[in-house]
Symmetry: D2
Subunit: 337 residues, 4 copies
């Protein structure tokens, strides 16, 4: 029988508690040995629910425990980089939520530490583990529909997060759009240039801190293809998640999932259900799958499906989009670094 | 905090192991205290996987344990009725897989024991717990699309079960169709008369034991409406699960789910994914939901959402369909009993 | 250059005026030389609109004109049979609207006259000329999805015709259902037995003259397959026209057309357009195509795509359904004649 | 009875012959009195087919005929402007195919002549007369889904036109894209700035004359909204025509039409039909409707639904897109004129 990987979760807030529950109940390849949160009572509540014995407030305790092989970092973004560094130094295998950090130099230091330590680092780009996005990629990769020409992504949140969060979010392209800026690379490879436009069309409060609620990015890829990203903070009909890769010999599209498959016919026409409202519903299986694959990569010593390089690249693209938006001109990705 | 219901699973084969996993990992309102299977090693394997301490071969051991409040029976059909009787006598709350039994007098004895003991009995008609079937029912029940007129159900399995199973299955209408014979009651209430037709169009082996692989049932409901059930043993494009309730002021339909939402456009047209192939994929959330609701009914002493009466009624309809098929005439449900 | 077929239209009411317009403007292979209606002013109005020179009240005038090669009969149903007989005697090629007649002996006399005269007779089963029904038939006929097993037809009118019409319509199965009773033969070949059920669920006035507004027919085909027809007089969401042929190796379905391809997403979900409301919109191209093919069959002396035999067979099935409905038993088609 | 408008068609090539047939057979409000083509035999052939008496080679003959009230110009693009000028001088009401001209000064001269003469000018932006595009516009205009935020247009031709045509076409954005550059104004009003990107991904021959086969345009609208246009010369699955207007309170989308509504289920999944292959199929009803509305505007002395200003604006946007493409920077529409 194959050994189980002993893992601890650092940060048991919104995403961290999801990961904790998944590891405890749905990933038999892992053994969840401890949870940690700076707010001890938060970690304790999750531990109680799941019958987890060890609960700590200071993650260093976990890093010092030689029994723990891997850590999953789901703390707030500003703490990711230094916890990664510490964990790498301690020789732990690392799964870290996205984004790696908002500051590129912090990311670079963390990635350097990971490389020196020779540990694995997987970044939580959950959408890469969705079967529908993957099916689109597989169709294109098979070559049966020819060369990729145009990519379109629609990523519209069902509603605004809190204003408090928005003020520190890094802006719509780095927060909401970070998934798309990774997805374009997953589907099409490297980006060479971006041109972005954005506006406040929904909530004037955002103007106070220079953010936008509606935006478009036009991308040019190294493979010669081009694409767009469509982002909105508020889609009243639910979380709108679509993608198309138009190719020289066909097209591959991903449509929205629907909450139910019921359809009502009436004098108003035919009405079908909205997409799942919340990202945690829509992508629930991905959060399991990404950690399951991480655990297997650790167990079998394979490269992780997403890497620190992927984590860094998405942030670089975010800064390129922001620069383009501010200067109203196309920005080469090489301008960012 | 609310108390957890202590439950044991009797029968840990295909469906029983699914229920066991669900209770152990996804239903925090229950505490799984033991599993039982006449093939002890089968129960032991599941218990090992999930860390369940108590494993027994003889279900009477569990019935004698006063700590155990509820049992989930997922043994083979011929054993359902007598285990129900024993469990009722022992005062246990009972969840039993469908069908209750193949013999109506056995069912009647079991239901009598349940009634005498004053325990709850829920029958595992999982589809009643599917959000899409439920949405159709809710739309109709709301009255917004008027009076139900015509019901259609399509229920086509992806492929034949084994010939060994088919020989003892009770025939297509009692085996595959039992879900539909319950669903028609869930959607439309009581059935008064059925007319059934069936044929062997796919596999001549079935003729040896008088079964069919393709069938239609026409139903007349007590509310004046009418309907059809379409059953096939083999649908090469996957598990085909559809329903429509046409009403005087609109219609409510349930379409198939799809494995992914990817769509490929090519010179052949647009191709979308097949439905989930297997009933356990398609109805996975229902298996959790039905037991979760059972547990809550036990905990809060509420009536169960499906009852012994429902379990009996579906079997009666199955015998009416079989009688109609054999005699090639409409059969009143009251002819069966 | 190929010669044009000189044709006259007898009966310029609802369907007749459509045919007249189509021949005059969209079928260059034909030359429309005259129109006829017992209500002369009705024929005159259509003739004026289209610049047709010759307008007559008595169709015998047209039959006596040797220049006229073909006639299209779109008079009221009770007159079809004797006009066919007269036209056949006069050696005209004949296109006649459905149904041929309500009386089987009248049909038989008319068909005998046609056969004796050696002229062509095409019956206006317009749906056979619809590209979507035809595509389903072609998919099945290609053999790629195996042997036909189950046919389903949904044919629901958007609203009741006038009570005056209903009183003389022959009943829902012979009026509304006649298209389906032909379509089942187009898709599956001969029918051996039918079982019908019907009810008044929408308008109690129909009970006065023994008609129904909601009905189901279960059919057994000579090829071993089975099927259902679903008829309703009132579908508030528009003219509902669907079909499925489930086969041993796949399925072929025809979905509803929609008035527009616009879709609105809102807090209520996604709403798409209704089907075209009226049969003349939905089947507009078929009315052109059926007459175009008739003209070409006359011109090139080929057999017509629908024949008198088809016209008779649909009426026979209608009587079988009515007999089954009245006697509540399966009725063999051979019982009717 | 209302009078018929006497109209002549100038230019009876591909589009001109379609208009001629439509006017002759489907627009009873007009009387087609003459056709004209510099290739006399081309005009004669159409006239023969439709029984049109008067056929001329020199359009001046028609302009000199005081009986002719309106002309439809469907000659090659370089001749549009001067024929408009001549027709305006002669006091004719004018329908002209798009684009008005490739040269803005020629357009300005023509529009000046039209204004001086006080005649009507309608430009053939047929898509504005499509019921689906119109439905999207009506949904948005109703205000029920809030403020427009993001527009997306997909317009992909099924295949390349001839290389000979492409060399003189004005480039993809002015030729294929001209419809979209009008549609964006129809849906969203004035455009303030465009940023365009294009590439040769499908056929390297285009590089010889500096054209592209794949392109994206990002637009900023005067109302604060933004949008994209997606153009490709070759979509192997047929003519791809889609649009979305995402709004603050919902979204309105236009999906592709399909050649049939047949769907095949097989082991490969569900396959539905391609869109109509050719623009003349997809937009056939629009070509009738735009001329019908033109005729009614002439008859009732109403403003035309599309104007010379619309015709000019689309060409201006085309030049802005081309300038942006060449200079790789956002271009204000006001830079063009």
């Amino acid at each position: 029988m194959t050994r189980k990987i002993k893992i601890a979760v650092i940060g048991t807030g919104r995403m961290g508690s999801v990961h904790t529950r998944n590891i405890a109940t749905l990933i038999p390849q892992a053994e969840l040995v401890a949870v940690c949160d700076i707010r001890l009572e938060v970690a304790q509540a999750v531990a109680d629910e799941l019958g987890i014995q060890r609960v700590v407030q200071d993650y260093h305790e976990l890093l010092n425990d030689p029994e723990i092989e891997a850590v999953l970092i789901a703390t707030s973004t500003p703490t990711h980089a230094f916890i990664i560094k510490d964990a790498a130094l301690a020789g732990k295998q690392i799964f870290c939520e996205k984004p790696l950090a908002m500051d590129l130099s912090e990311i670079d230091e963390a990635l350097e530490a990971v490389e020196k330590a020779g540990v694995k680092l997987q970044v939580g780009f959950n959408r890469r583990f969705d079967k529908s996005y993957k099916e689109v990629r597989d169709i294109v990769a098979s070559g049966e529909i020819g060369r990729p020409c145009i990519l379109h992504i629609v990523n519209r949140d069902p509603d605004f997060p809190s204003m408090d969060f928005l003020r520190v979010s890094g802006g719509m392209f780095l927060d909401l759009g970070i998934h798309d800026l990774d997805m374009v690379r997953y589907q099409m490879g490297d980006v060479e240039e971006v041109y972005a436009h954005g506006a406040v069309l929904l909530n004037d409060e955002l103007k106070e801190f220079g953010d936008i609620d509606t935006g478009l990015i036009l991308l040019k890829f190294a493979n010669g293809a081009m694409g767009t990203i469509d982002n909105s903070r508020k889609s009243v009909y639910g979380y709108d998640q679509r993608l198309e890769v138009f190719c020289s010999n066909g097209t591959a599209m991903m449509e929205n999932e629907k909450e139910t498959t019921a359809v009502k016919g009436s004098t108003s026409g035919f009405t079908s259900a909205k997409p799942p409202y919340f990202f945690m519903q829509r992508y629930a299986p991905c959060y399991v799958e990404e950690v399951r694959q991480f655990i297997e990569c650790v167990r079998d010593d394979k490269p992780t499906p997403t890497t620190g390089t992927d984590g860094r690249a998405a942030v670089v693209l975010g800064y390129a989009a922001i620069k383009s938006l501010r200067e109203n001109r196309p920005v080469k990705v090489s301008e960012i670094g």
